[in-house]
């Protein structure tokens, strides 16, 4: 006799009346976790039968783990490559980070919450590290970490952070910290002190003490100084350096603006569109920058791994000039005695923003 699943075998199915739904990596991961949990619950009874055999296996593997990581027993390796997993836009930017990163597996526990730094990688300027947070209580969707990783000895830093909830008790995240004042370093010392985790939706704060300190050796770097520039409508963009690592490459560039632009606009923002001669398009992330005002800045951006067969990089600067309006800008001055004063915005007349595309610059790539 056939059951329903066998009967469904011969069914013709017309997909055209259904739409494909967009599914994020996080959602897929949630479904997979839910399934594995359900399978485990089902199998629990049959596990008991093999309990003796299983116990021996557990002892053995615990011993092995113990030898590899004497200080930190890792228990969150649910996701192999967090760099890739957290690349939610599927840009491919972090595809090769895991293989060149250092597995740290450092864990600190406080107030029922375990914070684990999993992998970290340093490209000479920016530290990227993945971490996992595990709580014994259920926590809300949004979580803020009070306390950012610091590069020791760096007078100026920029960074970005991203945290994603996997389920009620687990979060994973990625931190990027950039030393604005140094590039091409061969190692970095990091400290990360977390004083509390806050849950903005429920207005609660979990106090605790999670302290990490570690050193990282930089990945191999190959630098080349460049002298390329493009200019249009009073905005000039110059590319000064390219630095390559096994997992990424970075472009260093400056922007300057003419007096006319300064009079007309409040800020200038440059984004690089990077392609190679084989037609590959590279997605990247800004590392932040510094300069004497909003018009003259030095920036750097890191992009995904270069195609080894590419011989030329074609870089097109897209410049956005903007005016400050009360809707898009706010400024405040905080004086030494803690007084906070908002700076009123005087809007300049005319259009609020304009896009300028500069001529492409070509970087020859040599081995």
């Amino acid at each position: 006799m056939k059951d329903i699943y066998e009967l469904l075998n011969g069914m013709d199915f017309d997909e055209s009346e259904f739409e494909l739904m967009e599914i994020s990596e996080v959602e897929k991961e949630k479904v997979k976790r839910g399934l594995k949990k359900s399978i485990k619950q089902k199998n629990r009874s049959s596990w008991k039968k093999g309990a003796a055999a299983a116990a021996i296996f557990v002892c053995l593997s615990a011993g092995m783990v113990g030898m590899t990581f004497p200080a930190y027993a890792s228990s969150i390796p649910v996701i192999g490559d967090l760099f890739k997993f957290l690349d939610t836009g599927k840009t491919g930017m972090y595809d090769h980070y895991k293989e060149f990163s250092t597995e740290l597996n450092m864990r600190e526990e406080s107030n029922g919450i375990k914070v684990t730094i999993q992998d970290a990688v340093f490209d000479g300027k920016t530290v990227s590290m993945t971490y996992a947070i595990e709580s014994d209580k259920k926590l809300a969707e949004n979580l803020l970490i009070e306390g950012s990783p610091e590069i020791l000895g760096s007078p100026g830093m920029a960074g970005s952070s991203q945290v994603t909830r996997i389920d009620e008790n687990h979060y994973v995240g990625l931190f990027r910290s950039t030393n604005l004042n140094q590039e091409g370093a061969d190692h970095v010392n990091m400290v990360w002190k977390i004083n509390s985790l806050s849950l903005p939706n429920s207005h609660t704060e979990i106090k605790g003490d999670w302290n990490f300190a570690f050193s990282l050796k930089a990945a191999d770097q190959k630098e080349e100084v460049l002298n390329l520039s493009a200019k249009k409508d009073g905005v000039q963009v110059s590319i000064t350096k390219i630095s390559q690592t096994p997992m990424s490459f970075s472009l260093f560039y400056n922007q300057t603006a003419s007096r006319n632009v300064r009079n007309q606009w409040d800020d200038v923002f440059v984004e690089l569109d990077v392609k190679d001669n084989l037609g590959n398009s590279y997605s990247g992330e800004g590392n932040g920058g510094s300069g004497k005002d909003a018009y003259s800045m030095s920036w750097s951006s890191t992009f995904e791994k270069l195609d080894p067969n590419a011989t030329e990089l074609i870089v097109t600067p897209h410049v956005q000039v903007r005016k400050h309006t009360p809707e898009n800008h706010g400024e405040a001055v905080i004086t030494a005695d803690g007084e906070k004063r908002e700076v009123p915005i005087k809007q300049k007349p005319g259009k609020v923003k304009e896009d300028i595309v500069l001529d492409a610059m070509v970087i020859p790539l040599r081995d």
Partner: protein, 188 residues
């Protein structure tokens, strides 16, 4: 070794969790599309999540029942999803606050619905097995997949009247068999 189009069915049938991950990656967008379309009127997003879990878990549990290649598998997993979705819809709309406007049941609940809802599905399936293959296919489409008579007639190249007649005759056959079965049980 990575899961791919040519090996995932075998691996799924031998209970390899990587194959389960592979089918989630491959089919979740489509499965969710099916469930959302059927279950949106119920207005319960938790139900969709529950149903997603149920679909994949059933595919995992009953993977050995599947026969064919990956194109057949796509049809099979979609059919399982639609069957499950309709099942969930029927259970959820038992509650009076939901309207049944999106399911092809006409006015109120039909005898078939009550019948299929009953816990005796195994018995129904047993009875379905006694039908001719064309009739069985019509019944599957009509009552388990929620297809409209018109769609069934297009798919099978039979007129709507022919389908209706077959359903009528099939129902009579099933009813008499079901009655016998019940009598037999009571007689014991």
């Amino acid at each position: 070794m990575k899961c791919n189009e040519s090996n995932f069915i075998k691996r799924l049938q031998s209970k390899d969790e990587y194959a389960l991950e592979y089918i989630v990656d491959q089919y979740l967008p489509l499965i969710k599309g099916i469930l959302v379309k059927v279950l949106t009127p119920v207005r319960n997003s938790g139900l969709i999540e529950e149903c997603i879990n149920d679909v994949f878990l059933s595919v995992w549990d009953y993977s050995k029942k599947f026969q064919g290649d990956h194109t057949d598998f796509r049809k099979w997993i979609c059919s399982v999803a639609k069957f499950k979705a309709i099942d969930y819809y029927r259970k959820a709309s038992k509650k009076p606050e939901y309207s049944a406007e999106n399911v092809d049941v006409g006015t109120g609940r039909s005898a078939e619905d009550e019948w299929i809802d009953s816990e005796e599905r195994a018995e129904i399936i047993q009875l379905m097995n006694t039908l001719e293959s064309v009739d069985r296919e019509i019944f599957m489409m009509k009552f388990f997949m929620g297809c409209k008579t018109e769609d069934i007639s297009n798919k099978l190249g039979l007129t709507k009247t022919a389908i209706d007649n077959r359903i009528y005759r099939g129902k009579r056959k099933l009813h008499s068999k079901a009655a016998n079965l019940r009598l037999g049980e009571n007689g014991l």
